[in-house]
């Protein structure tokens, strides 16, 4: 029976426990066994906290929507007393927290059993998870020569490989959606400020970053977002309240939507044929579902936004490092090249530059709101290519501007995702396409600011019309043998 657990999603596992057909301990043992088997290949988990998980079960789990389901937190932020972090950095190795973050408190209240943390690049910057502090790159379970994405790359590898059904992630430039796309999973970035950042921080990366989850089924995402969404005490900003929760939105009667799709980047560059095909197939399906589907006609100016994003993230990285040490002779030898580059860039960003960057990000949000006034949903690929070969984005480039915005930089590889961190819109990557070589290619959908429920409703229609479960299971079964 233990083998069978890997095929179930979180909702199903919680139901099995509720019916007495298994126990939280049995599921934890199964997850640990599978981690022991697969983690040496994937390097998905960097912090193990088995004892903490066992004692949480012994103490009695709260009655939540996912009670007893094994879970992994990302090794970045999400402070939890029981789970030290490294943030993908030797500088932060085994950092012990003195308090639980609000997001973790809500994860605990959902009944999840957290037994470790998943690999992140250093401070979460980058579309791959290859921090030197992690010892080895995190690899894609679909093909270990390829990256599982980043920055929530460990989480995606663990979920796709069936170590856990669901895992925590965070997304400041695509860091939930890029790994979801790379590993054939669902990655939903809610509207800005939908999830809590407390009790200490008000927002990450000037509001661009938000937590999220990597899941195989859409309903797991919906259940986890319902369990964690909502303002926390003293939150500086609130998103527009939702008309209904995510789970309800999934099952709601669809209405006719205006959907615009793009098969080139916002700046007109071609994307990989497989990514174009993924969008075209999805557009055809959406048309068959009765929606009005058209090619996107407008033009979106992203240059200022990308520059602003890069400056803000550089400053955020400097902030993280300076929290530990302000002495370059101490921190520089311990950091990856990209991180050193980010700090160097941040040193040249004045206070006025920083406020200009925020203005540019907000102006971009207004630009997107203008486009979304005429359409309901924007459809693009998640990435411009199938997942890259491990090593291509190795974090050694000390020119942070070039690493992000250069011709072979991250924005060329992921030209869509960060736009929605800047605008704060809800966006989701869905596993709707695989290449002939069985590499996952995600399809990206974004709705208006605050309209998470419409996006969830449309995603549910696509899950029914283009089901991906069997494809995910084929990998899990293959890895089991």
């Amino acid at each position: 029976m233990a083998d069978g657990f890997y095929q179930f999603d979180g909702v199903e596992l919680a139901a099995l426990i509720a019916r007495g057909e298994t126990t939280a301990t049995e599921l934890l043992d199964a997850s640990l066994a599978r981690a022991a088997l697969l983690n040496p290949i994937l390097n998905a988990i960097t912090v193990m906290a088995e004892d903490a998980a066992r004692s949480s079960i012994t103490a009695g789990l709260p009655d939540g929507p996912m009670t007893g389901v094994p879970f992994l937190l990302k090794d970045l932020g999400a402070e939890a007393v029981a789970l030290p972090t490294t943030n993908g950095s030797t500088l932060f190795k085994d950092k012990i927290h003195t308090y639980d973050s609000e997001i973790y408190l809500r994860i605990k209240a959902a009944g999840l059993v957290t037994f470790g943390r998943t690999a992140s690049p250093e401070f979460g910057i980058g579309p791959v998870t290859e921090a030197s502090a992690n010892g080895a790159p995190t690899r894609n379970p679909w093909n270990t020569e390829h990256t599982s994405g980043g920055s929530s790359g460990g989480a995606a590898a663990a979920v796709a490989a069936g170590i856990v059904p669901v895992a925590h992630g965070s997304d400041g430039g695509g860091s939930v959606r890029i790994p979801a796309s790379s590993c054939g999973l669902v990655g939903f970035k809610p509207t800005r400020a939908r999830l809590p950042d407390g009790p200490v921080a008000g927002e990450g990366w000037a509001g661009m970053a938000i937590d999220g989850f990597l899941t195989r089924s859409l309903r797991d995402t919906a259940v986890l977002l319902d369990a964690t969404a909502g303002p926390d005490l003293g939150v500086p900003y609130w998103p527009p309240p939702m008309d209904e929760d995510y789970v309800t939105a999934m099952g709601q009667t669809p209405r006719t939507l205006k959907i615009a799709y793009l098969t080139r980047s916002f700046s007109g560059d071609k994307v990989h044929d497989e990514c174009r095909r993924a969008v075209e197939n999805t557009a055809a399906t959406l048309d068959g579902l009765g929606h009005h589907v058209d090619e996107f006609k407008g033009s979106i100016d992203i240059l200022a936004m990308m520059q602003a994003w890069t400056n803000i993230v550089a400053c955020g990285t400097a902030l993280n490092v300076h929290a530990k040490s302000k002495d370059p002779t101490v921190y520089e030898p311990q950091l990856d090249g990209v991180t050193r580059g980010a700090i160097k860039l941040a040193e040249g960003v004045s206070g006025a530059d920083y406020l200009k960057a925020i203005n540019d990000v907000h102006a971009f949000g207004r630009q997107m709101a203008g486009h979304l006034a005429n359409i309901d949903v924007l459809l693009t690929p998640t990435l411009a290519e199938p997942p890259a070969i491990v090593g291509r984005f190795k974090p050694v480039n000390e020119d942070f501007l070039d690493y992000r915005m250069g011709p072979d930089g991250v924005f060329a590889y992921s030209p869509f995702t960060a736009a929605f961190n800047a605008s704060g819109q809800p966006a989701v990557s869905l596993p709707l396409h695989w290449t002939d070589n069985d590499l996952p290619v995600g399809v990206h959908l974004a709705a208006s600011f605050g309209d998470d429920s419409l996006l969830m409703n449309l995603a549910a229609q696509l899950e029914t019309a283009m089901p991906w479960r069997e494809k995910q299971l084929s990998l899990i079964r293959k890895l089991a043998s």
């Binding site: 008309d243 709601q252 009667t253 209405r255 409703n457 019309a465």
Partner: protein
């Protein structure tokens, strides 16, 4: 039980609760009114509502239940939505046409009167396409009616408002009429039950009563409700020479179908059902097998000439009946009704005769084949549903040389209007990938209504629909 649960009570359950005084007809009507106010803006199933009148009647029904020893009628206090093509004396009756927008009926259809006499309360009239001549419910007069399971799609037609309101929980029972599938198609698209009785079972308005394609019949959410309503409306009447004697009653308790022989076809020889329709039909076949029936696939030797025959028949009588209206008021008509009327005016007697021949040829296969089986199964529609607002293209039929017009290509119903003495029930078989329900036709031998109901009741028990909150459509109420 919240008010939405009350809205989705079957008539059979509601009547039981009325009798035990656990629920009052007033409470049921109030719940339905509340639900209507909530979901009608999205669905547009009703053309008119009579809430004050209906509440007043519900109060009288309530009094009847409260009075000790008082006999209550068979549908006492049950909300009923009546299709806007059925004349009810003193009420507006438009058939979805601008030409008839102010038409007040001066008589009441016999079957509607029977429903009133049984205590049913009409709280609303339901939308139809213009003159009920399409399988999609949209008209210039009333706009577009939408499918409660997916607003992008039609709830079917022509009894689309009736089926949509049942699925949306804004009525308990509804009337339909079926001249090419107009009861079964909306039942299928909306995930409810619709019965096309055999020709002559339910009285028709004179004139159309002699077109054997034409039937009045019930729509409901459960098989038992459908039988309950059919038992009220069926039976011979002095005004309709076609009605058959004696009256047939569907028994309340239906026996098991273990050991039955059942034939099925996925395509009736010439339709092209989509994958989801095929899969859902095959799942239904397996359900019947699991109930101890011997189910065999039957190769049906029909082809698209059957569609041409049905089309010619419909054009010759139904289409031609609209011809004079088109001449006088064509500018007020929808494109599809107008094209159909013109088609009818051009129809030749020989086409009609050939159509009758074809119907005979079809039965020369179907009749003997059915000697081997208790009932016959096939999909109701070849895809879950047409879009809510498709491009109608009836006029292209003659010019592009196709035998089957596109508007009929998804309606696997009309062959049983050609074979009109066969009773046919459509029951839900599942959902398409677009979330729209699919339907299964259960076809009986001529005038063997009871077998059809027995099979449907057994199937419903094994494979229920709309039976709990999780299996109802969730209609977004704010935009």
């Amino acid at each position: 039980m919240n008010y939405e649960d009350i809205c989705y009570l079957s008539a059979t359950e509601a009547l039981k609760l009325f009798k035990r005084r656990k629920l009052s007809p007033v409470e049921l009507m109030q719940a339905i009114i509340k639900r209507t106010e909530k979901v009608e803006p999205a669905i547009n199933a009703f053309t008119e509502t009579f809430f004050d009148e209906a509440l007043a009647q519900a109060k009288k029904s309530e009094a009847r239940y409260m009075k000790k020893g008082h006999r209550t009628r068979r549908l006492e206090g049950i909300p009923l939505a009546i299709k806007d093509e059925v004349p009810v004396k003193g009420k507006r009756c438009t058939s979805g046409s601008l030409i008839l927008k102010d038409n007040i009926a001066n008589e009441t259809a016999v079957f509607a009167q029977r429903l009133f006499n049984a205590g049913a309360i009409c709280h609303a009239r339901t939308a139809t396409p213009e003159f009920c001549c399409a399988a999609v419910t949209t008209s210039r007069l009333w706009g577009t009616t939408r499918n409660p399971w997916n607003l992008n799609f039609t709830p079917g037609g022509s009894s689309g408002g009736s089926a949509a309101s049942l699925a949306a929980g804004t009525t308990t029972l509804a009337t339909g009429s079926d001249i090419g599938g107009s009861i079964r198609i909306p039942a299928s698209c909306s995930g409810v039950v619709g019965f096309k009785p055999p020709y002559g079972r339910v009285p028709e308005m004179p004139g159309f009563n002699l077109d054997y394609y034409c039937h009045e019949g019930p729509l409901a959410r459960t098989v038992a409700d459908t039988a309950l309503m059919e038992n009220v409306i069926a039976g011979p009447h002095t005004s309709d020479i076609a009605t058959v004697k004696p009256k047939l009653r569907i028994p309340e308790k239906l026996k098991s179908i273990r050991g039955w022989r059942i034939g099925y076809s996925l395509d009736l020889g010439f339709f092209k059902p989509t994958r989801d329709v095929r899969e859902n039909t095959l799942r239904a076949v397996e359900t019947f097998r699991a109930m101890g029936c011997k189910v065999e696939e039957v190769r049906v030797p029909w082809d698209e000439s059957c569609a041409k025959a049905a089309w010619d028949h419909l054009s010759h009588l139904f289409g031609a009946s609209l011809g004079p209206l088109e001449r006088e008021h064509g500018d007020l008509m929808t494109d599809y009704a107008r094209a159909f009327a013109i088609q009818g005016r051009k129809s030749k007697a020989i086409d009609f005769v050939n159509a009758t021949d074809k119907a005979g040829e079809m039965y020369s296969f179907f009749g003997p084949m059915m000697e081997n089986y208790d009932v016959f199964l096939c999909p109701t529609t070849a895809k879950p549903a047409e879009r809510a607002n498709p491009k109608f293209d009836y006029a292209s039929y003659k010019t592009d040389g196709k035998l089957m017009p596109d508007s009929l290509a998804w309606c696997m119903t009309f062959p049983f209007n050609s074979l009109s003495r066969c009773p046919v029930l459509s029951v839900p078989s599942g959902f398409g990938r677009n979330g729209v329900p699919t339907g299964l036709q259960i076809v009986g031998k001529t005038f063997d209504d009871v077998s059809v109901f027995r099979a449907a009741a057994a199937f419903e028990k094994k494979s229920p629909w709309l039976h709990d909150r999780k299996h109802r459509p969730v209609i977004r109420t704010r935009s």
